[in-house]
């Protein structure tokens, strides 16, 4: 059975990537199961999706703990233990990271024991950021080596049909280019073994001790802890205010910001708190004078952004 996990941020298209790969496997005659898993259900939050494919009925279910291939669409996730990108990796697992940095850099940085590959992101080419999902799906489909190009392309068209024709074609072009780029690595990912009962480790079951109610109650005692969580790190798009156009009707953007991340400056203009702005771009949509635009976070600035400062 093939077991593939896609990691990304909400909005990057990893659920769609898993569906493209799932449909491509299915068209190639495999039994398939694919599913997304997310908690906060917010654009920019870490999420993952997974695909199982086998030539027989699939009884396994739920999160993949021993992946054959892990695809990471956003390289900043590798620094976040909570994102779980490296969970269950062993020397058999192929690790593919979409990044502006090189394969060599990721091999040195992560020291993963199995094959590590970078999926190149070109900051100057907005398509490589916007359609990273199609690229990830194409690379994954090529790496497993059992999917025909025609099945991959048909699967991509099926899954992206709801986006309309221009977007589907743009995704397909990037998908094709990525497919060709990874041709030398076709078949690098191998099917992993099933669990074996006779060599299994015993679960370290315990009898749960009784705790006093003041301990065993799901209460939060520290106030304002959300301030501590730098949700600005989730952002894939950054809102930028054009001060020349801004009419200082700041109550609109600051009220409608779902995260309360826009405050009013002394001069009445808005200030965006990039520590906590998740990049949902609601402010851009509601600004009456169109004074807010979005730029890709990956190209926002080369020097240390505000949210990374101590």
């Amino acid at each position: 059975m093939y077991r593939v996990r896609f990691h990304g941020r909400g909005g990057q298209g990893m659920k769609t990537a898993s569906r493209i790969l799932g449909s491509a496997f299915f068209r190639s005659g495999f039994e398939v199961q694919d599913a997304p898993r997310y908690g906060a259900e917010r654009r920019g939050a870490p999420m993952f999706a997974y695909v199982r494919a086998a030539r027989r009925e699939i009884h396994e279910r739920g999160v993949i703990t021993r992946p054959d291939l892990v695809v990471v669409a956003d390289d900043s996730l590798t620094a976040s233990p909570a994102a779980g990108t490296t969970t269950g990796l062993d020397e058999h697992t192929v690790l593919l990271i979409a990044s502006t940095e090189t394969t060599r850099t990721w091999q040195d940085r992560l020291r993963h024991r199995g094959p590590t590959l970078a999926l190149p992101i070109d900051p100057a080419d907005s398509a490589s950021l916007r359609f990273v999902g199609a690229a990830c799906a194409a690379a994954a489909a090529q790496l497993v080596g059992v999917i025909a190009a025609s099945d991959f392309e048909a699967a991509l068209r099926d899954e992206l049909a709801p986006l309309g024709e221009p977007a589907a074609t743009q995704n397909l072009e990037l998908g094709r280019a990525t497919w060709r780029r990874f041709e030398p690595h076709a078949g690098l990912v191998r099917e992993g073994p099933d669990a074996v009962a006779s060599i299994s480790e015993r679960p370290d079951w315990i009898d749960l001790p009784f705790d006093a109610a003041r301990i065993a109650t799901p209460a939060i005692h520290g106030a304002a802890t959300s301030v501590e969580v730098r949700t600005g790190l989730w952002r894939t798009l950054r809102p930028v205010i054009d001060e020349a156009r801004c009419r200082h009707c700041t109550w609109i953007c600051s009220t409608l910001c779902p995260d309360g991340a826009i405050e009013v400056r002394a001069d009445g203009g808005p200030r965006i708190d990039l520590d906590h702005c998740k990049g949902c771009m609601v402010c851009m949509a509601v600004c009456p004078s169109h004074a807010i635009e979005s730029i890709p976070e990956a190209t926002a600035d080369a020097h240390a952004p505000e949210e990374l400062q101590p």
Binding site: F26, D34, G222
Partner: protein
């Protein structure tokens, strides 16, 4: 009938579409919302001729479903977790109206604490309501049991609403290959709802669920619901036989998997049971005679089928994805009552697992099978085990360490 990849939620929506439902009262809640979104899309596109109304709560939603069904139209609705509990007063009430419709529940653990992932405590709160209760393990079953639920619930020997349950995330958001039946063939299996004497009309007022004083009349009505629910066992078998003849898929009230010669069987409900199937295959590869017994139907309780499946086994490991707080596993308790007094009943070993979506890995299934076999060797049931590992407790202690630090800090010391 080619196969298509769809989620468990989409399969539930397809059941409503193929049943040609007339009315869909709705209220959103994760992880169910995809079902009503899918149906809303079909209505918008003209693919389904139905009226959808978003109500202000699940309490109103279930009331609307029952009232509409009492007029003789075909009704579909769906909810989950806290939503089911919010509508629970009316769940019990509309069953007493004898108004048949299908409610899909997408299982999700109950507060507190709040979670999104599945266990069965939500749907088990509706266990004693008079609703028929079917538990699906695959997306295909969600669709097929949805159609069977209409056929059985609308049968004049039954006339009760039905819940079809599927597990959140593990099934609701998981795509699997599903055969979507041909609409014309479904029409043959499921003709339009003939409501008979129900006939509630706006111009002809009827008061449903009047008050009765005195235990005699009250008991009469409650016993009648019970008799109708018991009838559903036989009606389900008939409907399932017709379904198999038309569509080739067989749905017994109790599924058995590699159980014919099994010494030890897992007993569990819902889609985690497919994980048990994988473990059964692996244990068989290791030379162990292990199988699976899975009730698809919880209400009415298929006692005879379960006795047949379990008699003569050495041990049955009942894995409850629920916890009746202060008692233990609900299915375990029901099976113990069902097998009581039989000389060839298996030793029952009780396990609680999968609460709030906690995974049950293969290694735990192996250890459960071993514990059940040990109990059979010892001739006595073991203490119920709440599946929890040392690693999980250590992680919990780490989180509690953070909470304790927060508690001891003065608020003004925080930034």
């Amino acid at each position: 009938m080619s196969r298509t990849l769809i989620t468990g939620n989409a399969a539930a929506a397809w059941a409503a579409r193929l049943a040609r439902v007339d009315y869909v009262p709705a209220f959103p809640i994760t992880p169910q919302t995809e079902i009503i979104e899918t149906i809303a899309g079909w209505i918008e596109a003209g693919a389904l001729d139905a009226r959808m109304v978003t109500l202000e709560s699940e309490h109103s939603m279930v009331t609307a479903a029952g009232a509409a069904a009492a007029t003789g139209v075909r009704v579909f609705t769906a909810t989950s977790s806290q939503g089911l509990l919010y509508g629970l007063e009316m769940i019990y009430t509309v069953a007493g109206w004898r108004a048949p419709f299908v409610l899909v529940n997408v299982s999700r653990g109950l507060a507190a604490p709040v979670t999104l992932e599945p266990d069965h405590n939500d749907v088990l709160a509706a266990r004693d309501s008079g609703f028929l209760q079917l538990h699906a393990a695959t997306a295909q079953e969600v669709l097929d049991l949805g159609l069977l639920a209409y056929r059985v619930g609308e049968d004049e020997r039954v006339r009760l609403p039905a819940i079809v349950n599927l597990d959140g995330f593990y099934l609701s958001f998981t795509r699997e290959p599903v055969r979507i039946p041909d609409p014309a063939e479904v029409d043959g299996f499921l003709p339009p709802f003939e409501s008979g004497g129900l006939g509630f009309r706006a111009s002809r007022p009827v008061s449903e669920a009047v008050a009765v004083l005195g235990g005699g009349p009250y008991s009469y009505f409650r016993y009648e619901i019970h008799a109708a629910a018991r009838n559903a066992l036989g009606v389900f078998e008939e409907a399932a036989a017709d379904f198999e003849a038309r569509f080739g898929r067989r749905y017994a009230p109790v599924e058995t998997y590699r159980a014919d010669d099994a010494e030890v069987v897992f007993v569990m409900m819902g889609c985690f049971a497919t994980k048990a199937k994988a473990a059964v295959d692996q244990l068989r590869d290791a030379g162990q005679a292990v199988g699976l017994v899975r009730p698809r139907m919880l209400r009415p309780f298929p006692g005879e089928a379960l006795r047949t499946a379990l008699r003569g086994r050495r041990a049955a490991a009942v894995i409850d994805q629920n916890l009746s707080l202060g008692f233990g596993g609900v299915l375990y308790g029901e099976l113990a009552a069902n097998l009581c007094g039989l000389s060839d009943a298996p030793i029952l070993a009780s396990f609680i697992g999968g609460l709030g979506g906690r995974d049950i890995p293969p290694s735990e299934f192996y250890a459960i099978a071993e514990a059940a076999r040990d109990a059979a060797d010892a001739g006595a049931p073991p203490e119920p085990r709440l599946l929890y590992t040392d690693a999980e407790l250590r992680e919990m202690r780490r989180l509690q360490g953070i909470a304790a630090a927060e508690r001891s800090e003065r608020p003004e010391a925080r930034r």
